[in-house]
C-alpha cells in the first residue's frame, strides 16, 4: 500500500513546482525533481551515443503551436527523402495529424501522444529507439510538442535543437522565451512572407535571439513560399 509520502511523490509529476509542496514534503520534492532531471540527462546522453554509433544526424525541433514546425519539416523531408532514410518522431497532446502530413513525403513517422504532458522527454525517445534498428536510418527529426516553455526542461539527446517561431506571434516572442533560445543551436523565424502585411519588426527578433544566445544561428524562412529553405538546408548540414 502507498503511504502519504509515496502518494505525494506521484503528485509531483503534475505539480512540478516546489512552491506548491507542503513543508513536510518540500525536501522530498526537491530531491525528486533533481533525480528526474539527472535521469533524463543520463538517458539523453545514451540516446546521443546510440545516434552517433549509427551515424545518424538528429534534430529536436521546438516551437509554439502554429509556428510552422510541421510545414518546415514537410519541406525538409521532401528534399531529403530521395537520398536519405528518415525517421520523424512527432509529439502532440493528441492526434497524429502532423505524422500523417509528414508521411506524405516518404519518411517513416512515429506519433507520440503525450496526453497531459507538454513536452517530450528522453524516456519517450528511448522507448522508441530501443525497439528500432537505428542502422536503418540516416536522419532522425523529433518534432516536439508545440509550446515554447516545457521543452526547455528536457534535453532529448539530439545533435542540434532547432527553435521555430513565426512573425505572427509578434516581435516580443523571442525575448519572452529566453530559455529555449539559450538551449537551441538554430533559430528559424518563419512566415517571413507575411512581413510586409503584418509590419513585424523582424530585425528586433533576430537581435533578441543573438542577445540571448550569441552562438545561435538565426534564419528567416517561409515554409509556404519556400523562401530561404535552401539556406536552412545548408545550415542543418545538407
Amino acid at each position: 500500500m502507498f503511504n502519504k509520502n509515496e502518494k505525494d511523490l506521484y503528485r509531483i509529476k503534475e505539480l512540478e513546482s516546489t512552491n506548491l509542496a507542503t513543508d513536510d514534503i518540500r525536501e522530498t520534492v526537491i530531491k525528486t525533481k533533481k533525480e528526474v532531471e539527472r535521469d533524463n540527462n543520463i538517458l539523453a546522453n545514451f540516446i546521443h551515443q546510440c545516434f552517433q554509433n549509427s551515424k545518424i544526424k538528429s534534430f529536436d525541433i521546438v516551437g509554439a503551436i502554429g509556428a510552422g514546425k510541421t510545414a518546415l519539416l514537410e519541406k525538409i523531408v521532401e528534399i531529403l527523402s530521395p537520398k536519405f532514410k528518415i525517421l520523424v518522431v512527432c509529439g502532440d497532446i493528441t492526434t497524429r495529424v502532423d505524422a500523417n502530413r509528414i508521411e506524405q513525403h516518404n519518411a517513416e513517422t512515429i506519433q507520440i501522444n503525450t496526453g497531459r504532458e507538454c513536452a517530450l522527454n528522453a524516456y519517450h525517445i528511448h522507448q522508441i529507439i530501443k525497439n528500432k534498428d537505428l542502422d536503418n536510418y540516416d536522419i532522425v527529426f523529433i518534432e516536439n510538442v508545440g509550446n515554447l516553455i516545457c521543452p526547455s526542461e528536457f534535453v532529448l539527446g539530439t545533435d542540434k535543437r532547432i527553435i521555430v517561431v513565426s512573425i505572427t506571434e509578434g516581435e516580443w516572442v523571442v525575448e519572452k522565451h529566453p530559455m529555449l533560445f539559450k538551449m537551441s543551436d538554430i533559430a528559424i523565424i518563419n512566415k517571413i512572407d507575411l512581413k510586409e502585411r503584418l509590419g513585424t519588426n523582424v530585425k528586433k527578433m533576430i537581435a533578441d535571439a543573438k542577445k540571448i544566445n550569441p552562438e545561435i544561428e538565426v534564419i528567416t524562412t517561409s515554409a509556404k513560399t519556400g523562401e530561404n529553405i535552401d539556406k536552412l538546408m545548408k545550415l542543418i548540414g545538407f
Binding site: 497524429r96 512515429i110 501522444n113 522508441i128
Partner: protein
C-alpha cells in the same frame, strides 16, 4: 495481426505446455503487423507511443503510459500510474495501479487487484489479490 493473436491466445491457454520460443517469435511478428487504434477508449488522456491498439470499451486511468507495441483486448481496464510496453493484454483483464510491464502477455479474464508490480518477459495469468497469487511464466 489477428492470426498471431489467436495463436498466442491458444498457446497460453495451456500454461503447462507453453513453448517459449514460439511465443517470442509470434510476438515479434505480431508487433510488426500491429496498427494504431487509440481513438476510442474510456478515461482521461494517457501517453501513447504508437503503435497502440485498443479494442472496444477499454478503460484507462490517470498518468498512464502505453507503448510502443501494445495490444489491449476488449473490456480491459488499466489503472492509474501504469506503464506498459511491448505487451499483449487479452480481453476482460484488470491491470492494478502502478504496474510496469515490459514484454509481457496477460491472459484473458485475468484480474490483478493489487498495486505495484514490475514485470518483464512473462506470461501473467489469474485472478490475484496479491502478487504471490499470480501465475507467472517467464520467457
Amino acid at each position: 495481426m489477428k492470426e498471431e493473436l489467436n495463436k498466442i491466445e491458444e498457446i497460453i491457454g495451456n500454461p503447462n505446455e507453453i513453448k517459449i520460443s514460439n511465443i517470442q517469435e509470434l510476438m515479434k511478428t505480431f508487433f510488426v503487423k500491429l496498427k494504431n487504434r487509440v481513438d476510442i477508449y474510456i478515461g482521461d488522456y494517457p501517453t501513447f507511443i504508437e503503435p497502440v491498439y485498443l479494442e472496444d470499451n477499454v478503460k484507462i486511468g490517470d498518468d498512464v503510459l502505453l507503448g510502443p507495441n501494445i495490444y489491449v483486448g476488449a473490456n480491459s481496464e488499466i489503472s492509474d500510474y501504469v506503464e506498459i510496453s511491448n505487451t499483449i493484454i487479452f480481453d476482460n483483464v484488470k491491470i492494478g495501479e502502478n504496474f510496469k510491464l515490459e514484454n509481457c502477455i496477460v491472459a484473458k479474464n485475468s484480474s490483478f487487484n493489487f498495486k505495484n508490480l514490475n514485470m518483464k518477459n512473462s506470461v501473467l495469468i489469474g485472478f490475484a489479490n496479491l502478487k504471490n497469487e499470480l501465475q507467472i511464466i517467464g520467457f
